[in-house]
């Protein structure tokens, strides 16, 4: 990996975040109904003075370019603004909500990526037999069933068959490890299933590709066992596209987490941003999207770096 490659990727990263900051800033303001209207609601006694006072306090009376300039200047100095509804710094609100999302995403990647390797390897090595066909059909189902639907069905099943199971909400792992895990089981299954299905299919096709290569034939000729051929020789090479795919999928999981958090009442970043959009909580929306985008971009950046380390050809 050359320093020049590293630098160019860092510059790309900065440009992406800058572009996102402008798009998010403008888009949230293009949605009809401003923060003041949402705060005051319909059928309440609203005086023009109260509206003007709120607009001035929130800085919404300034021209839009000035609002953006004020905000981005603050961001560059580490001040992401104040939540319109709670009056607290948005960074503290993001900090309070980031752990459930990170944990949910991390566990889902762990389950999705971790299980996909043996399942994919099995599908490749046992191609054509009934068990493999059943797993393949399962993988297609996993890809097509929406996570939120799976989540809703899961909580209804729990309510019906295990009514004492606390499956909703979030308890920090440090406070109550078992309580935390009992609440994480269903969301992680719902969120990781599409990833598991996708990656299993990818591992399967990469393995099949690898198993057709000359070096596998050589290994067979040298008398290597089937197990050794699959897991030692083929799998190792099949993992290169897999790593890239895990990185991209992890980013998409953040998006999926938004819906899953809503269904399972998990107070994470996804729910935070959804609530903030409906409340027109501009500073919170802007900062959360920036954090989510930043995480996505950084994960991809790290994957690129890893990929470049594995295969130096990409840096040329």
């Amino acid at each position: 990996m050359t320093p020049r490659f590293l630098l160019s990727r860092l510059i790309d990263l900065a440009f992406v975040l800058f572009g996102v900051s402008i798009i998010v800033f403008l888009m949230i303001r293009m949605i009809p109904g401003d923060a003041v209207a949402i705060m005051l609601g319909a059928n309440t006694e609203i005086t023009p003075e109260r509206i003007a006072e709120l607009e001035a306090r929130l800085g919404l009376n300034l021209p839009i370019y000035q609002q953006y300039a004020n905000w981005i200047w603050g961001v560059l100095h580490g001040d992401f603004g104040t939540s319109i509804w709670t009056g607290r710094p948005v960074t503290s609100e993001i900090a309070a909500n980031i752990w459930p999302t990170l944990e949910l995403t991390f566990l889902s990647v762990l389950v999705g990526a971790g299980l996909s390797i043996p399942i994919g390897a099995f599908m490749a090595s046992a191609r054509g037999n009934i068990a493999e066909i059943a797993v393949r059909i399962g993988a297609i189902a996993g890809l097509t069933i929406p996570s939120f639907w799976l989540g809703i069905v899961a909580i209804f099943m729990v309510a019906k068959f295990a009514p004492g199971w606390s499956a909703l909400g979030y308890v920090p792992f440090t406070e109550d490890p078992l309580g935390n895990l009992s609440r994480m089981v269903l969301p992680v299954i719902a969120l990781s299933l599409p990833m598991l299905a996708n990656l299993s299919r990818l591992v399967r096709s990469a393995m099949l590709d690898a198993l057709g290569q000359d070096y596998i034939r050589t290994a067979k000729a040298k008398g290597a066992t089937k197990r050794r051929i699959v897991y030692k020789h083929a799998l190792r090479n099949a993992l290169i596209p897999f790593i890239t795919s895990v990185g991209v999928s992890a980013g998409y999981l953040l998006g999926g987490a938004i819906v899953i958090e809503q269904v399972f009442a998990i107070p994470g970043l996804g729910r935070l941003v959804l609530g903030a959009i409906s409340e027109r909580n501009y500073p919170l929306v802007q900062a959360t999207i920036l954090v989510l985008t930043g995480t996505f971009v950084i994960v991809n950046f790290l994957v690129d770096m890893l990929y470049a380390a594995i295969d130096p050809r990409v840096t040329r």
């Binding site: 309440t44 609203i46 005086t47 729990v158 309510a159 004492g164 009992s182 409340e279």
Partner: protein
């Protein structure tokens, strides 16, 4: 096998954990509150959390909607109705430990009235001209004119510490009242936790150690969570959910007649609604019972300008000539007003399932009379903006009610009233509204509001449709909860959770 064992262990542990947390009540509500300052909030979820739980007023409204003592143990009203002298309760302290006295009451009134605070509650106590502290536990309000709803109004004015008089920020995040529960934690997007106030004036109350208002936007999640015991109470559920929850064995649905109502609003400053005959004709085209059966699953009653829950005030709908569906009569009235049909109009719809369903039925009913309505399903921000700017022909919405006729009527129907987005201005109505708030003789006051209801029902800018059934679902482990027609959670103070 290992996975199965793990699942069984997790379930067992979470069941045991559920049993241990006996004195914490979880209440699931659909969204976060918009600030907690009792003099600035307007969102219902904010009011639900702070009023009666964290804060108290001088007076309070009981389950039968009557005014009862709050922080004032008693009061005297002068014969001319111009002065009210309140005797404050002894031994009341704020959550910060300071004693509550007449200074705090005077500061709270000034705070609501101050222009700088721009409180939406200011109009409720606008006739209060002077506040005099007689002694630390006695305070006198002098009005500039008799104002009959003053005692009801004061139930909604929270008493805050005097040092908060000019502070616009602190109470939005960390409220400080005299109520049975004190603010503990606000996890944005997660929950608000209130804990038992140990210094509450009644040492035996509240019975709970903690109340957590969980913000759960997904309706299905709230419903499942109530059944599983994750949540103890779901306040203000819609009729369809109420029906489903009634079938659940471990849940009880408490019901009462709702103060709030659904309505069709008309823009009295836009043709053709400038003509009272058109407003009357629209009412005549409606079949309110069909709306209730079709959109509210039968959970509601037709009603006029005042909720039937206000038994002292509300007139029966038989008193309103335009409430019997009469399509031919409506057509004739439209023709008399010079309207040629089909008349094409638009109708903004509040984004709620019940109002969407109601809008479709209203659309169909109006079509029978030649009024073709295009429904505009709006996002809440757009709806509020158009509502505020009077940018509508018609709208379908749901409004919260008030405990005194004046509190609803004056701001809504007085020319230039603070929520008169209909731009309705009728000299006779304006006069009656002024008389109604100044009249202190109950019988005379009732006569005024009877007259107003009769006029507003058919010729006002609002076609009142239905007063729904307010339903709150309670897990059977929760005891002592009682539903209030105002939707407030005043009875939380008496709630216990069974072990």
């Amino acid at each position: 096998m290992v996975l199965k064992k793990l699942c069984v262990a997790l379930m067992a542990t979470s069941m045991m954990a559920g049993g241990a947390a006996a004195a914490t009540l979880d209440i699931a509500i659909d969204s976060s509150p918009a600030g907690l300052d009792p003099h600035l909030i307007t969102a219902f979820n904010s009011v639900l959390i702070v009023q009666d739980n964290i804060y108290e007023g001088l007076t309070a409204i009981d389950q039968g909607l009557a005014v009862v003592p709050g922080l004032a143990s008693s009061w005297d009203v002068s014969e001319d109705g111009m002065t009210y002298t309140f005797k404050l309760r002894e031994g009341v302290t704020f959550h910060d430990g300071s004693a509550m006295d007449a200074d705090d009451v005077a500061a709270s009134i000034r705070r609501v009235q101050s222009e700088e605070m721009a409180s939406p509650l200011a109009s409720r106590i606008s006739p209060v001209k002077e506040v005099t502290i007689i002694d630390p536990l006695t305070i006198r309000f002098t009005l500039d004119a008799p104002f009959a709803p003053i005692l009801s109004s004061l139930a909604g004015i929270a008493i805050v510490p005097a040092e908060m008089e000019t502070d616009k920020d602190a109470l939005q995040q960390t409220p400080d009242g005299t109520g049975p529960f004190q603010f503990s934690e606000w996890q944005p997007n997660g929950f608000i936790s209130l804990t038992k106030f140990d210094g509450y004036r009644d040492a035996d109350l509240p019975k709970l150690d903690e109340v957590r208002f969980e913000f759960v936007p997904e309706a299905a999640t709230r419903q499942v969570g109530l059944g599983s015991g994750d949540y103890g109470i779901l306040p203000g559920i819609d009729p369809a959910t109420a029906l489903q929850l009634k079938a659940q064995p471990n849940v009880t649905v408490q019901e009462t007649r709702d103060l709030s109502y659904t309505l069709v609003g008309m823009n009295a400053s836009r043709e053709p609604f400038t003509d009272p005959r058109v407003r009357r004709a629209l009412n005549m085209l409606l079949n309110r019972q069909d709306i209730i059966d079709g959109a509210l699953f039968g959970a509601g009653v037709p009603g006029g300008p005042l909720s039937p829950a206000l038994t002292e005030w509300a007139l029966d709908t038989s008193e309103f000539s335009c409430y019997s569906t009469d399509v031919e009569g409506a057509k004739a009235l439209l023709a008399e007003a010079g309207i040629t049909t089909p008349l094409k109009l638009t109708m903004n719809v509040l984004p709620r399932q019940d109002t969407r369903d109601i809008a479709q039925i209203v659309q169909q009913q109006l079509a029978a009379g030649g009024i073709e309505v295009e429904l505009i399903n709006q996002e809440i921000g757009q709806f509020v903006q158009d509502w505020r700017n009077s940018n509508f022909d018609l709208f379908v919405s749901a409004n919260g009610g008030s405990t005194d006729p004046d509190l609803y009527f004056y701001r809504t129907f007085f020319g230039g009233g603070s929520t008169n987005v209909f731009k309705y201005d009728d000299a006779e109505v304006n006069t009656l509204l002024d008389e109604g708030r100044n009249e202190t003789d109950q019988a005379a006051r009732k006569a005024i509001y009877d007259q107003l209801q009769t006029k507003l029902a058919c010729e006002g800018p609002i076609a009142h449709l239905a007063y729904g059934t307010l339903s709150t679902a309670v897990n059977n482990d929760v005891s002592g909860f009682e539903i209030y027609p105002s939707g407030r959670l005043r009875s939380l103070i008496n709630v216990t959770i069974d072990e």
